[in-house]
Amino acid sequence: MTTRIPARFQKCAAEGRPALVAYTMAGDPDLATAQAILEALPGAGADIIELGMPFSDPMADGPGVQAAGQRALAAGQTMKKTLAMVEAFRRKDDETPVVLMGYYNPIYIFGVDAFLSAAKAAGVDGLIVVDLPPEEDAELCIPALEAGLNFIRLATPTTDDARLPAVLNNTSGFVYYVSMTGITGASIKNHAAVGEAVTRIKSHTDLPVVVGFGIKTADDAARMGRDSDGIAVGTAICNAVLGSLENGKATAGTVAAVTTLVAGLSSGVKRAKAAA
């Protein structure tokens, strides 16, 4: 198993703050700009990177991430190019964990074994695959663990105590707690319930728990970061890319739009420390 993820959580814990997990869509709005965004994320304050694998039918994503995936696919993004992005990133940064996030079909069509060995060789640390619940562990989760890649599971508000052990079993790296029943980019309605859920999950596992879905601002980051080991931001980053485009194309301000946002979120997770 790669060790970058636990090492990074230890580092953040030593600083007494939650980790900032930043999601960016591979290939959005074009390959070169996406590569520049990826490489700028650690400097802007991202502790862990989730790199989205675009899919034509992202059934758990809201309009922001959907549109980012569509832009990437329209620009010709493929799984091969996404893996090559990680490989290029690793030549410059051997410490920041990179987790690939997406849906199963593009992996299945690439071929599970071929995908796992290519991902491992490229320097990927873990996988988050939205449409593979524990019931389908034999498909990718078990082979991924055997190949030495973390398989990060989503736990949700509908995952009750009876089901939680099944969800946590075979989970590694961290647990991704989905803050609401909903799609990416929606709004968190009950912040207190999220904190309680994280506490509940932590009573079942020693793994770090990261909260995602609905975190948009530095204030959100500070607030949600108090209860968790990390917070994940995706839609806001995709929307920052969108806001920087002219006629659908990247501009000189595209990378800066993302780094400015991420730097702000980073200040939020540091405030979470002060409040804790």
Binding site: M59, N105, D131, P133, T158, T181
Partner: protein, 406 residues
């Protein structure tokens, strides 16, 4: 449905919801506990005589079952081969086979205490059948429908609205059934506590493919009994159109273990199977992948991105197919073949003129395939078409294709 032995083709799915390689439960964790609850509730309903009696009662008095088996004499003469019979599912209340499934599922939703119903629809037949049972059982109903389909099946949009349903046009992608299903899944993930997703075809995560098949199996069971009464034996061949494949699986299932009965599924060949992204024939023109909760044959590119597909028929315009069909395709128990838009249009007109029956464009695909098979059979053989829906919804768009509107 009870199976007859270890080698029966009617045993599927297994406990994991698999038909061989196909099926499964490829859904987000948020939905997983609900899907497990649904399976439990369905298993309890299956063995509850009260539930079964209520379905039977409604099927008789509300839907009008059994639907007639009709000997299509002029079509038989014209084709000059096997005797042609129509299973008249288009005479059901709401005009298609879809009501068989929506009645079963709405009773299940009530049992589960759900207070809101969502559905996806392509041609609008399932949307209408869902809106209908929601009106009858007093449940709010939201139907997701691709914006392209809203336009080409407008009469059904009006019917849904009059029945009290909210129709939400989906503009993502090509605005057809696939996109409507994505939006329905997003709504479901968001409103999982209150909402029942009433899937209209024999696809999606387990237990939907099995459940929808079982609610639709009444079609094949009735054909079996009606053909026995009419001819004293089983039919020699049975044909149905396949989009997601709910009428087809409901028609075929009773015959899977009768090797003497040839089974044919007509897929949407659109502009032709050789035209990339110009058809919706997922089995003849696609390969296995994972979408909408199940593994099945899908239209997709080399990188696993799903294609939109095309068919003149909104109900067949879907890049996937129910997982049990994929299994029956691989095992070769059913022969699936593509029918082009033009072949379907020809069959639509022939049926209308010869039999005085306006078929749905979906069912016209099945008929077009029957028109290829029947002439190769002898006159003492029989072939049955599941006439799954009526074509009232299609008259405007067919009229446009035929240049009748000017």
């Amino acid at each position: 449905m009870t199976a007859t032995g270890a080698n029966s083709l009617r045993n599927g799915p297994d406990e994991q919801g698999r038909f061989g390689l196909y099926g499964g439960r490829f859904v987000a964790e948020t939905l997983m506990p609900l899907i497990l609850d649904l399976e439990k509730a369905y298993r309890a309903a299956q063995v509850d005589p009260e539930f079964q009696a209520e379905i039977k009662h409604l099927a008789t008095h509300y839907v009008g079952r059994p639907s007639p088996l009709y000997f299509a004499e002029r079509l038989t003469d014209q084709l000059g081969g096997a005797k042609v019979y129509f299973k008249r599912e288009e005479l059901n209340h709401t005009g298609s086979h879809k009501i068989n499934n929506t009645l079963g599922q709405i009773l299940l939703a009530k049992r589960m205490g759900k207070t809101r119903i969502i559905a996806e629809t392509g041609a609008g037949q399932h949307g209408v059948a869902t809106a209908t049972v929601c009106a009858k059982f007093d449940l709010p109903c939201v139907v997701f429908m691709g914006a392209t389909d809203v336009e080409r099946q407008y009469p059904n949009v009006l019917r849904m609205k009059m029945l009290g349903a909210e129709v939400r046009p989906v503009t993502a992608g090509a605005g057809t059934l696939k996109d409507a299903m994505n939006e329905a899944l997003r709504d479901w993930v968001t409103n999982v506590e209150t909402t029942y997703y009433l899937i209209g075809t024999a696809a999606g995560p387990h237990p939907y493919p099995e459940m929808v098949r079982n609610f639709q199996s009444v079609i094949g069971e009735e054909i079996k009994a009606q053909m026995q009464a009419e001819t004293g034996r089983l039919p020699d061949a049975v044909v149905a159109c396949v989009g997601g494949g709910s009428n087809a699986i409901g028609t075929f299932h009773a015959f899977l273990d009768d090797p003497g009965v040839k089974l044919y599924g007509a897929e949407a060949g659109g502009h032709g199977i050789e035209v990339e992204n110009g058809h919706a024939a997922s089995m003849t023109g696609g390969r296995p992948g994972v979408l909408h909760g199940n593994r099945t044959y899908l239209l997709q590119n080399a990188d696993g991105q799903i294609l939109e597909g095309h068919s003149i028929s909104a109900g067949l315009d879907y890049p996937g197919v129910g997982p049990e069909h994929s299994y029956l395709h691989d095992t070769k128990r059913v022969t699936y073949a593509p029918i082009t838009d033009n072949e379907a249009l020809d069959a639509f007109q022939l049926c209308t003129r010869l039999e005085g029956i306006i078929p749905a464009l979906e069912s016209a695909h099945g008929l077009a395939h029957l028109m290829k098979v029947a002439p190769t059979m002898s006159r003492d053989e029989t072939i049955v078409l599941c006439l799954s829906g009526r074509g009232d919804k299609d008259v405007e768009s067919v009229g446009r294709y035929l240049g009748m509107n000017s």
